[in-house]
C-alpha cells in the first residue's frame, strides 16, 4: 500500500520547519517517526500534499537535566526514553510507560513528541504526561510557550498545538519511584483499552500527594481528581480506587458499555496504586 503522492521536505532546523509549515499551511503535515501518520496515509485517511520531516533536526532529540527538571526533545524515540538511565532514575514512571508502547520495533521509530502531538485517546504517554505534571514547549514563529499537560490535551486527536506550531520539548519535574502504570492492552493493536498512571509523593512513608491519570476510556486523558484527593487524605489503594469512576460520564461503544468501563477504571486504578505504594 502506497500513500497518496506528496512532496517531501527535510527540515534542517526548527526555524526551517516553521518556515515550511507557514508556507504550506493546512496542506502540510509534520513527520516525526511516522508510526501514526504513515499508517493513516497508507489507508488514505490522510492525504497531505507536503510532508515536513523533522526527524533529522539537530537539537530536537535527546534527554538532559537542568535544575531538577528533565528535558526531553520532541523527536526522542520511545526506545531511548525507556532505556535512558536519567529517566529511569528521575522519572521512572515515564520509562515504564514508554517501554510498554506497541512492540520493540515500534519503539525504535515512534517519538515522544509524535505520540503526544497525535493525542490518540488510547495512547499511553498522555496519561504519563498528566501524572508526571509535564509541560509541553510549543514553538511558533513568535517564540515558545509552555503548556501544562492538563491544558494540552483538548479532545480526540486534538491538542493545544496551533497549526503553525511545533512541539519542541517536554519538561518533567524529577519524581520518585512511588509510581506505576497499569495497562489493559488491546490484544490486536497493543494500544490501551485502559491505562492508569499513578505518581505518588511520599514523606515519612506516607502519601502526601498523588497524581492519577487515565487513558483509553474517554476522548482524552484525564486526571482522576477524586482518587487523588482520597490518596492525599490517607486512603488505602482499595478505597481510593473505588472513586475512579466518580463524576465521569463513560459512553457505550464497541469497546464496552459504560458500566464495564467504570469497572475497568476502578480495577486498574487499584492495581496501579497498590503497586505504586509498594
Amino acid at each position: 500500500m502506497y500513500p497518496a503522492q506528496f512532496q517531501y521536505h527535510r527540515a534542517t532546523s526548527v526555524q526551517h520547519a516553521l518556515d515550511l509549515m507557514a508556507q504550506h499551511g493546512d496542506d502540510a503535515k509534520v513527520l516525526a517517526g511516522g508510526h501514526s501518520l504513515l499508517p493513516v496515509m497508507k489507508l488514505r485517511f490522510a492525504t497531505p500534499a507536503h510532508l515536513i520531516d523533522i526527524g533529522r533536526v539537530s537539537g530536537l532529540s535527546g534527554i538532559s537535566e537542568s535544575g531538577g527538571t528533565i528535558v526531553i526533545g520532541a523527536t526522542t524515540r520511545h526506545a531511548d526514553v525507556a532505556s535512558s538511565a536519567l529517566i529511569k532514575a528521575k522519572a521512572p514512571l515515564l520509562a515504564e510507560v514508554a517501554g510498554h508502547i506497541g512492540d520493540p520495533l515500534i519503539r525504535n521509530m515512534g517519538t515522544i513528541g509524535g505520540s503526544v502531538a497525535h493525542a490518540d485517546p488510547s495512547a499511553d504517554l498522555p496519561a504519563a504526561m498528566m501524572a508526571l505534571g509535564a509541560t509541553m514547549e510549543l514553538t511558533g514563529k513568535g517564540g515558545s510557550r509552555q503548556v501544562s499537560a492538563d491544558q494540552f490535551f483538548v479532545d480526540v486527536f486534538q491538542t493545544a498545538l496551533g497549526s503553525t506550531e511545533l512541539l519542541t520539548a517536554i519538561r518533567i519535574p524529577a519524581s520518585s519511584g512511588a509510581c506505576a502504570y497499569e495497562k489493559n492492552p488491546d490484544p490486536a493493536s497493543g494500544y490501551a483499552i485502559v491505562g492508569i498512571a499513578v505518581q505518588l509523593t511520599t514523606s515519612g512513608g506516607k502519601v502526601s500527594s498523588a497524581r492519577v491519570a487515565m487513558t483509553g476510556l474517554g476522548p482524552k486523558p484525564m486526571r482522576l481528581a477524586a482518587v487523588e484527593a482520597a490518596l492525599a487524605a490517607g486512603a488505602d489503594a482499595a478505597s481510593a480506587a473505588a472513586k475512579a469512576a466518580d463524576g465521569i460520564a463513560f459512553i457505550d461503544d464497541a469497546r464496552g458499555n459504560a458500566s464495564y468501563k467504570a469497572n475497568l477504571a476502578r480495577v486498574y486504578t487499584k492495581r496501579a496504586i497498590a503497586r505504586a505504594m509498594k
Binding site: R10, L31, L38, D53, R56, P104, L105, N108, M109
Partner: protein, 155 residues
Amino acid sequence: MAQVQLTVNGRAISRDVEPRTLLVHLLRDALGLTGTHVGCDTSQCGACTVHMDGRGVKSCTVLAMQADGSTVTTIEGLSTDGSHALQRAFKEEHGLQCGFCTPGMIMSAADLLARNANPTEHEIREALEGNLCRCTGYHNIVKAVQTAARTMQNA
C-alpha cells in the same frame, strides 16, 4: 522524484524515488532484495523487519526518504547462503514452517543478540513481540534464538 542515498548490506546505493516510496519497496523492487517480506502492510506483523542504523524497524512503515543517509541491513546482509548462526539455528530447531515470517524474526532476534548476548527466555519473547508467526506457536523460534545465542557466544 527525490534522491535517496543509503548503504544497504555494505553497498552504497543511490536511487531516484517517488517520495512516497516505502523502504520495503525500495529494498524489494528497486534493489531486488526480496528476502524482506510484506505481510500485513499495517505495521503489525514484522515480516518487513530490517535494521536501520543498527535497530530493528518495520520497513513497511518507514519512507525510503527517512532512511536517507542511513545504514540498512536486510536478511541478505546476514549471509546469502544461510550460514549465519541464527539462520542455522532456525533450521535446526524447526523455528519455521512456511517461512514467511522468518526473515523478520531473524532480524529482530539479531537486533536483540547484538544488545544482549545472553537473553532469558522472557527477554527473547519480549524482543519478538512485534513479529507474528502463524505456524510455529513461537516455541521453536524461542529455542532457535537460544541456540544461536549459545553458538555466537562460543564463537
